[in-house]
Symmetry: C2
Subunit: 410 residues, 2 copies
């Protein structure tokens, strides 16, 4: 499967919940005092069976300890839990940071009666400070005591930093052997940018999937979703997407057709979580979805979509409800994507605003009303006939983004 403009008939439907929607997963979140605000900051998700697991990580050379720790363990066939803290990124903390990551896994493993190597860890928050290990281990203890199959929302809240709301999504997909659930949650509102697995996202499924297949599918899907997400063009030191499959549904992802269906379902979950992150971007007043079709290749569509989604000028214009298609064209121009000067079209909120690099007439006042809504869709047809579609997610760029990031003091 490659992303298409019009998805073929949906084989999966949204259900409530997030990381505990799939069978056999329980989770919880508690406040351990790592955040000065006193808000929840320690989260654990646990599977009753051993999981196959895969992860994708930031490509930043300045990597947090948890990224180093997890990337050595994955892909794996024996993961049982993820232990995550917010309020402290455990990044730029050197050898002590790595020891702290190991100690966190050991602490959770002891409490869950599972080897440390079956526990993944994640951290997010301030860079350059050491983890308060006593507070963290106390928190992990209480969190393990609170684990429940209805604990997904607590988990999703405890991983938040500048997020204003938790981000969860789950679907049921029908495979040849029966139904499976894929659910997940994500956090992230700033320092979000292309070319890596963005911020923290945890996805669980009760399907049974081999670890190699899981790693391959996750990599492809992250390339179509999280790697096309940007809030501010800044790639974090801690970004990761972790995917755990515990097989508790009894349904195996075996045939080629099942793999495709599972991939499609995973794409759906990741794509929706990206949209939720974009919607909650720092200072955002609206979500922006950029759909680019008609490129020579998927990569051309992706390059154009990401350039538009990253452009500060496009994003400030949309904050001002301004149909400034010149800035969209300008971003396509420097993206490196091939396009047909004669056939390229740009539409805003479903209305063509530019054809053949020239203005297309449209009603300005109707357009302004459309641009003032909560979701703005930019559609570009590069005019070269390709059938894939790249979707990039972002949000507008506002006074509040500047305020949040000028006032977030170290």
């Amino acid at each position: 499967m490659m992303p298409r403009m019009k998805a073929s008939r949906r084989r999966c439907r949204p259900i409530g919940g997030g990381i505990t929607a799939a069978k056999g997963f329980c989770a919880g979140g508690v406040a351990a005092g790592i955040k000065k605000s006193g808000l929840p900051d320690v989260a654990v998700v646990y599977s009753r069976n051993a999981c196959t697991a895969a992860g994708t990580f930031t490509t930043n050379r300045v990597r947090a300890a948890c990224v180093d720790y997890n990337s050595r363990l994955l892909p794996s066939r024996s993961v049982r839990a993820i232990c995550c803290n917010s309020g402290n990124a455990n990044a730029c903390t050197g050898a002590r940071g790595l020891r702290d990551a190991h100690a966190t896994a050991a602490c959770a493993g002891r409490l869950l009666n599972t080897p440390p190597s079956s526990v993944l860890v994640a951290s997010t928050g301030v860079i350059g400070e050491f983890l308060p290990m006593r507070k963290l281990c106390d928190g992990v203890g209480r969190c393990v005591g609170s684990l429940s199959t209805s604990g997904g929302p607590s988990f999703a809240r405890a991983i938040m930093t500048t997020d204003t709301r938790p981000k969860e999504y789950a679907i049921r997909a029908r495979l040849s052997g029966g139904g499976v659930v894929i659910g997940g949650c994500a956090k992230g509102a700033g320092m979000i940018c292309p070319t890596m697995a963005t911020m923290l996202c945890f996805v669980t499924t009760d399907a049974s999937v081999g670890s190699a297949t899981l790693a391959r599918l996750l990599k492809r899907v992250v390339g179509w979703t999280f790697n096309n997400l940007t809030i501010d063009g800044d790639m974090s030191t801690n970004d990761m997407v972790l995917l755990l499959a515990n097989g508790a549904s009894g349904v195996t992802v075996g045939s080629r057709r099942d793999v495709e269906r599972f991939e499609e379902a995973l794409f759906d979950v990741c794509n929706r979580l990206c949209a939720k992150i974009a919607e909650d971007g720092e200072g955002a007043t609206k979500r922006i979805e950029v759909n680019v079709t008609g490129g020579r290749t998927y990569d051309d569509c992706k390059a154009a979509a990401k350039a538009i989604a990253t452009s500060n000028l496009v994003k400030t214009a949309l904050f001002g409800n301004d149909p400034n298609w010149g800035r969209i064209l300008c971003a396509i121009g420097y993206s490196g994507a091939q396009f047909s000067e004669r056939k390229m079209t740009v539409s805003l909120c479903g209305v063509p605003v530019c054809k053949r690099l020239r203005p297309a007439p449209f009603n300005k006042s109707t357009m302004r009303t459309a641009l003032a809504r909560k979701i703005v869709v930019i559609e570009v047809d590069l005019g070269l006939g390709g059938r894939t579609c790249a979707v990039a997610h972002t949000c507008d760029f506002t006074y509040d983004y500047v305020k949040i990031n000028a006032e977030y003091h170290t």
Copy 2:
């Protein structure tokens, strides 16, 4: 020559003036009604002798007509004038736009009694509208009538768009055959970004330089200066740097040593004009200069410097006078530059804030006072011992940038 941290003894000194500082150039600027504001919008610079000329242009695939027009003529040995308008970019205007560029050159050529092919043209302003040719030609006529050797400041003002002040710089350099002058002016405050010749910059010299040498030197120097300048990461459709050498000083740039001195002088002029553009970046309260040394190669230094200068998070932090070195490190991490984890240091305003990817102790209140000044210098030593230095120019990222670009309606 490659840029170094400490320039060897200066062989050139700043003098007043800009584009008419070199012998044999006269210029002017007038209001022709292209801008709704009624401010000056047509500018002409003219040389009494034929000039060798070189240019570097935007690499945006969506290119303005003037970029196409000039890039076909350059390098050249017979340029006499540049005719520039502001208020209208003549971009996304198709075949008619290119005809208008030719007509502008023809109009100026007729009035200056020189072939159209000896006139370069430049436009800057709104994208997607046709040039008002009658107003423009009337303006060119009045401008040619006002040409004077003291007309540099009028020229510099007439090319402004969202700039708040003109940007001029000139120096006298000593070569083996005598003194020569290099002077120039630039405009640009938004839609300014790496990987091309940024915005409009016009440089003149009375040295005698072959057109091939001129083109080679300009390309190298632009790579060290304008291509390291960013306001908002958005590459314009119209960017260009034009360099005219009329030989009126009687001094020829001949020997290898002279070429090096001339290059050093040209670097100085371009570097200062970059600093002036950064200082006047849209909404800026301060200029930010990023010096990166100690890389394996110049390109590594440049990649790190540009990543820091482009980071919205670094730039909002500096707006808030926050010594947030974690964001600087994060940008170096995703820049792709090689660095030594053991030896890298980051300094802010001359004070080390991070060594070996770990916090270095510093006085926070003194630092906040230093960061509140008009110029903030970020110094990074990548710790790999190389001797070149990349300088990137930018400014802080403020509420007013958002305001200007959300309210600049099409």
